[in-house]
Amino acid sequence: MRLMSVSIFLLLMWALLVSLSLTQGAVVLSLSDIWSVWQQGTLTEHFVLWNHRLPRMIIATLVGMSLALSGCMVQSVVRNPLASPDILGVTSAAALAVVGLLIYWPDANVHWIPFAALIGGFSAAGLLLLLTTKRLAEPSHLALIGLALGALFSAIVDYLLSKYPLEINGAMLWMTGSVWGRNWSHLPLILPWLMVLVPGAIYLCYRLDVLSLGQEKAASLGLKVTHLQVVTLLMAIALASVSVSVCGAIAFVGLVAPHIARFLMGGRHFPVIIIAMLLGAIILLAADIFARAIAPPLEFPAGIFVAMIGAPYFIFLITRYKHW
């Protein structure tokens, strides 16, 4: 079975990256070290492994999965190869909302962050729909307006960061799309959402398969099309927004992972979302390892490395896209 073999291959790849993620960095450990550190490591080693690398690895995996799943869902509703939460401006709006929260209400409990991100994400989606209601059928318009909105939101984020240079330390680190400094306290921000939204997405898979025949055909097969589209989009925006609330705006994972998954698995949603989630996890984990292994002890935001692969791919998609 194809799904089985591809997933096993990707799981092995993921496991390899996990071991790299746990061993590489400013303090280099070997795999056998990990076990002994676990048993009786020095305080530093134990701290590095348990309080830094492990949560960071888990969060990179979850955020990668979440962004990839969000991209799959957006693409199947909008029927648009250029669509993904970052290109539609959803992630940058979520980032704006979070930066706003961090600057104007620095004492806010960390648990408010996902909700701020959600409000930002949903507002952006609402604004986008408002601006494109007459043109929803034209994918290129949606992508262009989304990109423009995204640029606008990012510009406001930059403005806020320059206006409040003293308050920004936290915000700055957070919004560039970094997995740095993520610890166990960030896990509850994303895990509960994924535990609801991933099974939800799997539950919708067959309906999304039917929807891929087109709205009219799907409706004539007894599907509540509008209902399905709205629920799917809401879930996709929620997935993207909670990812932003943990890692900031990481672009292109939501675009690239579903594409590769569809290339590998064909048209059905269930295998596509499973593989896309694995790929998303792998991409983000790899980017994070790169980001900290390239010039230790300096660390770069993982988002930069994802963009270095993702942006050329997006340009490639646009040049190949024939329906302007």
């Binding site: 309906r207 087109g214 009219e216 004539s220 097969l221 599907l223």
Partner: protein, 256 residues
Amino acid sequence: MHVNVTDLSVSYRTTLILDKLNLSLPEGKLIALVGPNGCGKSTLLKSIARLLAPRDGQIFLEGQSIHSMSAKDVARKLALLTQTPITPDGISVRDLVAYGRAPYLNAFGHLSAEDKKLIQRSMMLMGVEDLAENSLIQLSGGQRQRVWIAMALAQQTNTLLLDEPTTYLDMAHQVELMNHLQLLNKNGKSIIVVLHDLNQACRYADMLVVLKQGRVVATGTPEQVMSEALLQDVFELNAKIFSDPIAGTPMCIATH
């Protein structure tokens, strides 16, 4: 009556497409909807399939108002083949035909042995069982159209609606497709089909419904309906009507 349309008005944005349309269609017939471009025939077909919400009026299917039925209930009574269905990538013929079972399946789309048998039979009826494992993109236009109809058959409905199924086919495939429809109709399926080609409609349909500007202007057998005056009135076409030398049905030929 099988399908009953009473005072149906449908508008697209501000334009009224169907204007207080009344129509009764009997069961078990092959019925062709004809009319000039923009007369509302596709809109009527989609309304009967419950894809469009009417501004006013009612549509009854087998005695029940379709807007009091659930989407699934409607999908178990009638199947629709739209004009340009989207062909999803990476899907085999068998997978596509299997979607015809969607109105009967649970959320996960699990196919029972019975479902699989029905899918196989639908493919055999349309002569596409040898293509079952092929990808749809590899097929010709005529084969594709037959696969879409096989999918509609897997829906196990009494009624089949088709929106201009022959438009993009060459003549040989048009004839083949219409023969298939005729055979399905003889085996008990009620068929309502939008056709562009009047002579094709006359040759195959038991009943013609002629539309003009959102209203029905004539219904009846092709012999009853077709006249030079009607062609002039509805299509603004100067034509003469002859008897088709093969089928004996009316056949029109434009004079200028």
